[in-house]
């Protein structure tokens, strides 16, 4: 596990790292998943393709996480794992593997309104990609 959840008085944050942008985005998505559902797993009978853009890697990460929130909240996609097909500084194409959300099978730990730009960080230092994002709960 190369992410951790950050303390915040009212909300929560996440820090992720990876040897590549692909790994970084996948880990950040897993961290978001843990905030939403804890460490409970699920089936992977659905695969949703998504493509997200942003004007820089920070905005791209915020948009990527908000896309996952949207798919859960509006389309009822309960995410289990994430894979990245292609990524650069301004766009990411990936897959969400999961199943359709069922409130009784998938207890929600907490609801996230959005990933924010507060103290947003995406950087590569000493060959390692690092990200920090705060979530509005």
């Amino acid at each position: 596990m190369t992410y951790r959840l950050l303390e915040h008085t009212a909300d929560m944050g996440l820090e992720a790292q990876g040897s590549s942008l692909e790994e970084l985005f996948s880990q950040a998505a897993q961290a978001l998943r843990e905030v939403l559902f804890g460490d409970v797993s699920g089936q992977k009978d659905q695969a949703i393709h998504l493509r997200v853009t942003g004007q820089d890697p920070g905005e791209l990460l915020v948009n990527w996480l908000n896309e996952i929130l949207y798919l859960f909240e509006v389309r009822g996609i309960y995410p289990v794992s994430f894979s990245i097909d292609a990524i650069d500084a301004n766009s990411v194409c990936g897959l969400i593997h999961g199943e359709l959300f069922h409130p009784e099978r998938h207890p929600v730990e907490r609801v996230v309104k959005a990933a924010t730009y507060h103290q947003l960080l995406v950087e590569k230092r000493q060959g390692v990609w690092r990200a920090r994002v705060y979530l509005d709960l």
Binding site: L5, E7, H8, T9, A10, D11, M12, Q55, G58, E59, N63, N66, Y70, E73, V74, G76, F101, P103, P107, V108, E109, R110, V111, K113, A114, T116, Y117, H118, Q119, L120, Y134, D136, L137
Partner: protein, 480 residues
């Protein structure tokens, strides 16, 4: 970098103008609260807001201030209509999150035998938690557009309430200037299924009793008496508002660059009020604010239905009437006197409540002698307060006061404290019934997670930016 803070008096602190600040900071807090604030980043956020262009007067923080994202929660900042900016981060994701308070003719002893049944009906009739919705409320795209333009008035036109409800809602339940043409398809999609839902987190629906009266004349004007049953509804614009905020944060990232606005934190991104981006945000924000007014109006109607079903009483017998509905996440164009001169200002209240004084034309006629009602929810174990606005608030804080208790513990710390305990059973022993869609929410929202709201409103009253009218004790709580 640490923040310099100087004590002014027992409830006021100044952050002197330094570095890139364009004005000073003014924090309402006790000494103990300031010590807690210095452990988090809320004071830095007060300072950061003071760097934004066109700020008029200080960057203000209420005693329920805590670390937010960009702006602090409990923050108030006013910007000049010509030279200033508007920032979606200064309103927040939950645009027009707010509280409304209903009073009824019943006393606590009339309700006690049916309290559990009433709570079960409220939980059934008012959707709470993820994915929950009323099956009998399906909006067409055209109806959704009407909601965005008309707010609570739309709900009243559909039969969910009365004209009197609108008279007792901030801005009459409709913020003018809403333009649905600026709303993204995604926001519309999120909005269609979530109207008339409570949501989750700190949102709630609470049946209460009036425990004590702090000001007899104001209580009489608001129709409150000891032992009386009241109902509080705390919710906002749901996923619709979150999406509007997110859409405009992206637009404002680019606008900040375009207009050369230097930002200490990206979440403070903004645009001049006199720019297409600024004007468009205010018109889109008005849509979300109206959505929230309609949301609380619909829930009010279902609360009235639930009381009728549980007690077998008619609306005339119950007299469940709206005392007031106030926003605590909004930016509004208002006129205020600054240094003896009237100025048009865009007042951002993020986790702060409007608190207009007696005699103000926007204070409803019924309350014109006592001031605009201000509703301050506490936590689900202790109490909530009803206040009224004061001339002091109008003079010092652009007619604003606190909005709640303010969180004390992080979610993780709250959950740790709740481990091994059954919070619902503990509250039941105190005579407070709880129904929640998620046990996790109850743990994270346990009473100890919040500051004591009595201390918060105590500071507000001592500072003269609000006057306590009544304290309300929770009896039954619905959480998402």
């Amino acid at each position: 970098m640490g923040v310099t803070i100087e004590k002014i008096d027992d409830c006021r602190w100044r952050i002197p103008q330094q570095g890139k600040m364009r004005s000073e900071g003014l924090v309402f807090a006790s000494e103990a609260m300031i010590r807690l604030l210095q452990k988090e980043q809320a004071l830095e956020q007060v300072r950061n807001v003071a760097t934004l262009p066109g700020i008029v007067g200080p960057s203000i923080a209420m005693p329920d201030i805590h670390w937010g994202y960009g702006f602090p929660i409990g923050g108030v900042a006013a910007f000049d209509a010509d030279e200033g900016i508007v920032s979606p981060g200064g309103v927040g994701y939950d645009i027009n999150c707010g509280v409304r308070l209903l009073r009824c003719a019943l006393r606590v002893e009339d309700l006690r035998p049916q309290l559990q049944e009433l709570l079960d009906l409220l939980y059934r009739n008012v959707p709470a938690g993820v994915g929950s919705m009323r099956k009998d409320l399906k909006l067409t795209p055209q109806q959704e557009r009407q909601v965005l333009e008309q707010g609570a008035r739309w709900a009243v036109r559909q039969g969910y309430g009365s004209e009197e409800d609108l008279r007792h809602t901030e801005a009459g339940g409709t913020i003018p200037g809403a333009d649905p043409g600026l709303i993204s398809e995604r926001a519309l999609e999120r909005g269609r299924t979530q109207l008339g839902t409570l949501g989750s987190g700190n949102h709630f629906l609470e049946v209460q009793q009036v425990e004590t009266i702090g000001d007899e004349a104001a209580a009489a004007a608001l129709g409150l008496f000891p032992g009386q049953i009241t109902v509080s509804i705390h919710t906002g614009s749901r996923g619709f508002g979150y999406q509007v905020c997110d859409d405009f944060l992206q637009i404002m990232q680019r606008a900040s660059q375009k207009y050369g606005i230097e930002l200490p934190d990206r979440q403070l991104c903004c645009a001049p009020l006199r720019s297409p981006e600024g004007e468009q945000y205010l018109a889109a924000m008005a849509c979300a604010a109206n959505y929230a007014f309609a949301n609380r109006q619909l829930i009010t109607s279902w609360v009235r239905d639930s009381f009728g079903q549980a007690l077998g009483l008619s609306p005339q017998e119950l007299r469940l009437s709206l005392i007031y509905d106030v926003c605590h996440n909004i930016a509004k164009m208002e006129t205020h006197t600054v240094d003896g001169r009237e100025r048009r200002l865009c007042v951002h209240r993020k986790g702060a409540t409007r608190a207009f004084p007696p005699g103000h034309p926007e204070t409803p006629e019924l309350y014109r002698q006592v001031g605009q009602p201000v509703l301050i929810p506490g936590d689900m174990g202790r109490c909530s307060y009803v206040l009224v606005g004061t001339p002091g608030a109008f003079a010092e804080t652009y007619g604003s006061t606190c909005h709640g208790a303010g969180r004390l513990l992080s979610r993780h710390a709250a959950k740790k404290l709740a481990r091994g305990r059954n919070i619902e059973v503990e509250l039941a022993r105190q005579g407070i019934l709880v129904r929640a869609a998620s046990r996790g929410t109850v743990a994270e929202e346990l009473p100890e997670a919040y500051k004591d709201v009595s201390e918060v409103v105590g500071i507000v009253q001592r500072a003269g930016i609000g006057k306590i009218v009544a304290r309300l004790k929770p009896l039954a709580v619905v959480k998402g």
